[in-house]
């Protein structure tokens, strides 16, 4: 491989992500000539098909954007509608929402970290190959993931596309007995999350750091999951309603997903790393101690370590779920009363992959006039391209096959949900 040779590397279909994407890389004389991360998941036009539908249908319809993180849509849409109607869901119903979101974090984080991302660090194709080498580890991970799904079933009625959530709260509150049944498994899960965090902390991480603009929710009293203000490590601190004043989306030719950016055109990062960097102090003592043991500092700038951060967040989610389950009493009402009126509402929650923003305008009959949904992977696209550029520059010496894999791994750091981003990798590397 001489410096003057041309290389074109193409990853035509990216594996172990949700959806369809591709990467085109053209290298000339040891310099990146062109790098495009393309999302070619076909567009499904959610914002358009919501128009004219009843406000109450937004949670169920938008949840079909993504089968991996439906709660981000069920809750984001519900809270946006509640904002439009001038009601807030508080107390035990809010706790139940946090509980089911913890279930989604556990299910999604463990699926990604153990099944989709870990094989990259072990040089394996998939988790089934890990299962051959270390069956106990994979069985534990599967059991932990299943517990996340159990929470979704207990509170939401179903693991994929839960049916029990609505604008204003729930159709039916789960019985005390069923919620309390989660307690013992959750105690096991806290220990198991720790075990996996330490195991993944022992991986060899590629040497790469980036000075990210980290954007996440922040809540006064807790590690933000389902609500809060939108903050960044560059001093941004705004209400959810101000999101459109500070962020925009651009439609670029090479992708079916709109690219998110700050108002001044800069890339930013959302997701586990952004949350960890902005809200580390609000993690539990045990989660902080485990993070330290697993090799993390109070902040983390190496995207490859996101796999460890995901397990710390999983541990925290198990602790939170345990806390809520232990104190759970069945609320008197399953939802708050709603009075339909015209208005505009905004909602934003921390999906496993980062902030997921919704805005709806409804008329006096409660019909949707306008819908805007900004999912996390669309916001991360620009940053993913920047990471790839940095990783390729540092790894020019790698042969095409190894470079391709390293690029795939870089993208998988983001646990990209490509179905979300379009509402994903074909890697094409060209070297001249």
């Amino acid at each position: 491989m001489t410096k003057t040779s041309s290389r074109i590397i193409k990853v035509d279909t990216l594996s172990r992500v949700e959806g369809e994407g591709a990467l085109d890389l053209h290298i000339k004389g040891g310099q990146i000539k062109d790098l495009k991360f393309r999302i070619f998941e076909p567009p499904r036009f959610f914002e358009a098909l919501l128009r004219g539908r009843d406000f109450s249908e937004a949670p169920d319809i938008t949840s079909r954007i993504c089968g991996i993180c439906p709660i981000a849509y069920l809750l984001g849409a519900s809270q946006a509608m509640e904002d439009a109607l001038g009601v807030t869901v508080t107390g035990p119903l809010r706790d139940l929402r946090r509980l089911i979101y913890c279930g989604e974090w556990i299910e999604s984080h463990v699926l990604h970290a153990a099944m989709l991302h870990a094989p990259d660090f072990l040089g394996l194709d998939d988790a089934l190959q890990i299962a051959k080498a270390n069956p106990e580890l994979v069985k534990k991970a599967l059991k932990l993931k299943k517990l996340g799904n159990d929470i979704l079933e207990v509170v939401g009625g179903r693991a994929v596309h839960p049916v029990n959530l609505k604008v204003g709260g729930f159709y039916k509150v789960p019985s005390k007995a069923r919620v309390r049944e989660l307690i013992e498994p959750l105690k096991w899960a806290i220990e198991t999350s720790r075990e996996l965090a330490l195991a993944f902390g022992g991986f060899e991480f590629p040497d790469f750091e980036y000075d990210y603009t980290c954007v996440s929710l922040k809540h006064a009293d807790e590690y933000a999951i389902q609500d809060g203000r939108i903050v960044s490590n560059r001093g941004l601190d705004i209400a959810v309603q101000e999101f459109p004043d500070h962020f925009l989306e651009e439609h670029v030719a090479h992708s079916n997903a709109l690219h998110g950016m700050t108002k001044d055109g800069a890339a930013y990062l959302v997701g586990p790393l952004a949350r960890y960097n902005n809200n580390f102090d609000q993690l539990s003592k045990f989660a902080k101690a485990t993070a330290k043991e697993a090799g993390l500092g109070k902040t983390c700038a190496n995207p490859f370590q996101s796999i460890v951060v995901r397990m710390i967040e999983t541990l925290y989610a198990c602790e939170e779920a345990l806390r809520i389950a232990q104190s759970y009493e069945e609320p008197d009402a399953s939802c708050v009363k709603l009075t339909v009126r015209a208005g505009t509402g905004h909602g934003c929650t921390e999906a496993p992959r980062g902030i997921c923003y919704h805005r709806y305008r409804i008329d006096a009959d409660g019909l949707i006039e306008q819908a805007t949904i900004t999912p996390p992977t669309a916001q991360n696209q620009k940053q993913i391209e920047l990471d790839l550029r940095g990783v390729v520059e540092r790894n020019m010496k790698l042969g095409d096959e190894k470079l391709k894999w390293r690029c795939e791994q870089t993208i998988r750091n983001y646990d990209p949900c490509i179905s979300c981003a379009t509402h994903f990798l074909r890697l094409n590397i060209k070297r001249d």
């Binding site: 959610f46 079909r64 988790a127 299962a131 994929v160 596309h161």
Partner: protein
């Protein structure tokens, strides 16, 4: 000499990945499934890609682009048995709502540069394009039904997947009828069983995510919905969600348009 394991492939078209996820959600059975088949192509789970032909292909998603239209024929050619999974693959999914609207208008509503977007005017089921050996319904599918279908196919027997109505499921589970007891709108009488009657068990009417049962009397149900106080638009929209383009639901929704 060990028997050669059947090759399993999982394909994705326009969808949310929820049905593929249902396979990864078979946590207790996943390793057993992986032992009994060779997972030859399953991008969401593995980098490894084994060339076809495939003994069993699971297809998720609907056809919404010209490229997908071409790709499904390639998948069909390489597959001995093709099983469609989920409402997108079996009926066009929620994105089939565009079938009832002007698609150019849809593109302009979402994208600043319509010229970058390639999409067909309609979202269609896989069976509209190629012969399908078995359809597994649901938005999402029920993982137990998926395991039943895989198990039966591997054993060479017919899978036990009932095509009766959701109502039968409620009766079998002892769930109180939300329409009779509470006057709630429910698509249960015209919807195929299989979800595990999740909605009525949450005091909520069925919203039809498993699509129409065999020979559904949608007209009689629409009359009942009117009696319960649903106006024309509400009746239309109830039939027009995740299985909007399934013929009996599409036809009934047009009666209220």
């Amino acid at each position: 000499m060990a028997m050669k394991k059947p090759k399993l492939a999982v394909w994705k078209f326009s969808s949310c990945d929820g049905c593929q996820l249902s396979l990864l959600d078979c946590e207790d059975e996943l390793l057993a499934v992986a032992d009994s088949v060779e997972i030859a192509y399953f991008l969401e789970a593995t980098r490894a890609q084994v060339k076809g032909p495939y003994d069993i292909s699971l297809v998720e998603g609907s056809i919404t682009t010209a490229d997908e239209e071409k790709r499904i024929h390639k998948v069909r050619k390489q597959s001995k048995m093709l099983i469609t999974i989920g409402a997108c693959a079996t009926a066009g999914g929620i994105q089939a709502l565009k079938n009832f609207a002007d698609v150019d208008d849809f593109i302009r509503a979402v994208y600043a540069h319509p010229e970058y977007i390639e999409t067909l005017k309609k979202s269609t089921a896989i069976a509209d394009h190629v012969p399908v050996d078995l359809e597994l319904r649901g938005c999402p599918i029920n993982k137990h039904q998926l395991l039943e279908v895989l198990g039966a196919t591997l054993a060479g027997r017919k899978p036990n997947v009932p095509d009766h109505s959701q109502c039968i499921e409620c009766k079998l589970a002892g769930t109180v009828c939300v329409m009779v007891a509470k006057g709630q709108a429910c698509l249960g009488p015209v919807t195929q069983a299989g979800c595990g009657n999740v909605c009525p068990a949450c005091d909520r009417g069925c919203y039809g995510c498993f699509g129409p049962k065999e020979m559904p009397n949608t007209h009689a149900l629409a009359e009942k919905l009117a009696e319960l106080g649903l106006d024309t638009k509400q009746r239309r929209d109830l039939f027009r969600t995740f299985n909007a383009a399934a013929a009996p639901f599409a036809k009934e929704s047009l009666n209220h348009d």
